[in-house]
């Protein structure tokens, strides 16, 4: 079966237009700012890493890198400006947590009150080892089946 040439051309054209539309969309995970990328690729990398680690407080399970809301955009601008001004990652995170609290970071810091969170996997592991040990010992005392 042969496609009519005019039709073929039309479909190609439609496809090209559609793909241009796609290309105009920001890539997933990239910030949706009009400002575009930072000139310096090292800074751009840090920008992407930091904005992924900061929670958008309006839509709390999104990072400010992913979120479209105005607050996220304002915070991205803040991160961008601090990076350009030469702030360290730590200084940027501190700026955010001083204002929004630890909740603004996805990863909790290691400190006395978060010890339980960080320690829980190890506690669970120890518990598991203890349980397995007990079961194995009990079974090893049982008489062997014929």
């Amino acid at each position: 079966m042969r496609t009519h040439p005019a039709r073929h051309w039309l479909m190609t054209w439609a496809l090209v237009v559609a793909m241009q539309g796609l290309a105009a969309q920001p890539e997933s995970g990239q910030s949706l700012d009009a400002n575009g990328q930072l000139q310096n690729p090292v800074l751009q990398n840090r920008f992407e890493r930091i904005t992924k680690e900061l929670r958008c407080l309006v839509c709390q399970n999104e990072s400010i890198a992913d979120s479209n809301v105005q607050l996220a955009s304002d915070l991205r601008r803040q991160v961008r400006e601090m990076l350009v001004a030469g702030s360290s990652d730590e200084a940027i995170f501190k700026f955010m947590t001083d204002r929004y609290g630890e909740f603004v970071r996805f990863g909790p810091p290691l400190e006395p009150k978060t010890l339980l969170i960080w320690g829980a996997p190890f506690i669970a592991l120890l518990l598991g080892v203890a349980i397995v040990y007990r079961i194995v010992r009990q079974r090893s005392r049982m008489p062997l089946d014929e």
Partner: protein
């Protein structure tokens, strides 16, 4: 003995966890403000109603005051407005309205048409003051004491009840402790 006690303890732990986690009164969007007990961030912005005038909270040092975020995009602020107007009529403390992510003309219209409960309405054109205060929505209301420290933060619309039960006692206490 352990065979019964352990599942029971696990059950109790789950009940306690759910009692906290599923409590319908708990607002999952409410976050403790790290600003509590700290000096209120100082700002100087222009007045919503008159761009040639400035509004600064530096001038309020020595006074207990409220700072509340709002915007014409904020539906809850419209809900809050009658209560805010009533509170404002009582003249207990100055109320600074921080208008952010907004359009000045729309904000002006809002205040002129719906009423202006604010002692002064500051226009935060680029949202930087809101960031300094850790504001992530509206309305959010802060109470600042005479020493310029943030002593209380309330999110969601103020009501007469909240005003009487949460704010008035704290204002009285702040004044007792003295400037």
């Amino acid at each position: 003995m352990w065979k019964f006690l352990l599942p029971f303890a696990a059950f109790v732990a789950l009940v306690v966890l759910f009692a906290f986690g599923l409590n319908p009164k708990r607002d999952i969007h409410e976050l403790p403000s790290p600003l509590l007990g700290k000096p209120a961030p100082v700002f100087t912005l222009t007045d919503v109603l008159d761009a040639s005038r400035t509004v600064s909270n530096g001038a309020l040092k020595g006074q207990v005051y409220l700072l509340t975020s709002w915007g014409t995009w904020c539906v809850e602020c419209r809900v809050e407005l009658p209560a805010m107007l009533e509170i404002s009529r009582q003249h207990v403390v100055p109320i600074i309205g921080l208008d952010y992510m907004d359009d000045r003309e729309k904000a002006k219209q809002w205040l002129e048409q719906l009423g202006n409960p604010y002692t002064a309405a500051a226009f935060d054109s680029d949202g930087r003051t809101a960031i300094d205060w850790g504001i992530y929505g509206a309305p959010e209301t802060f109470l600042v004491d005479a020493r310029g420290r943030v002593i209380y933060k309330f999110i969601t619309p103020l009501t007469q009840e909240v005003w009487e039960h949460e704010f008035l006692p704290r204002i009285a206490a702040a004044r007792r402790d003295g400037a």
